[in-house]
Amino acid sequence: MTLEILLFYFLGAVSVGSALMMVTRRSPVMSALYLILNFFALGGLYLSLHAQFIAFIQILVYAGAIMVLFVFVIMLLNLGDEKKLNEKFSWKKIVGAGLSFGVLMELIFVFAYSKTNLPPSQFEKATDIGTVENIGMQLFTTFLFPFEVTSVLLLAAIVGAVVLAKKKLN
């Protein structure tokens, strides 16, 4: 039990720290690498929630496939570091950051006071629901239609990416 709490705080600290580093680095490559670290920490958190399948596709799809795409595009465009993080002072950014801090306070307030309205914890059942077997069973029975629609979505994404990124032919 105490190991679980220790793991949560370690992975949570890595997750928040790497997210902060991702937002504040000047070089896009460093940002991408910190985002990969953040995805690994999230994968660890999913494992601690007994969601094994989600943890593995988090590492495979997010940290593997999507972030490779990002790093590939950053290197393809050959972007240098930004000169300064904040080229010009602007009230829009201050107001935006202040408002998002307000939203954070609101969310924390809501979560902290929602305790009484939650149903009782079913955490001991969680080991059974996150397995590949159970996820696959649900995916091909209850969620079969959304799963099939996903293939159309991916086809549209492939066609769209090819059309958008190709050179003009004239």
């Binding site: 997210a19 940002s31 953040n38 795409l69 979560f111 050179k167």
Partner: protein
């Protein structure tokens, strides 16, 4: 471990993503911040799924990841097309649709 801890963590990560979108001017970093926000919502869904004993949250995360993969491919293609036309990824220089 309590459900609230995971919700606080995902709220903090989500807000870091929001600040990234609002403050940074590099289109690729704005895009990565959006991925960060998607991931923090995924953490909320998995936490609820584990603590309520329901598989629906994890299915939703699975579909959110599919959408994120499609979105990353399209978004990066748009950034490449933009860079080809304007030679920049700074979103302050790409303002022909702004008022």
């Amino acid at each position: 471990m309590e459900l609230q801890s995971y919700l606080f963590l995902s709220a903090i990560t989500f807000i870091i993503g929001v600040v990234g979108v609002l403050v940074r001017r590099n289109a690729i970093i704005v895009f990565m911040s959006i991925e960060l926000m998607l991931n923090s919502v995924n953490l909320t869904l998995v936490a609820f799924s584990a603590f309520l004993g329901d598989v629906t949250g994890q299915m939703l995360v699975f579909f959110a990841m599919t959408v994120a993969a499609a979105e990353a491919a399209i978004g990066l293609a748009i950034i490449i097309a933009m860079f080809r036309n304007k030679q920049t990824v700074n979103i302050d220089d790409i303002n022909i649709l702004k008022w």
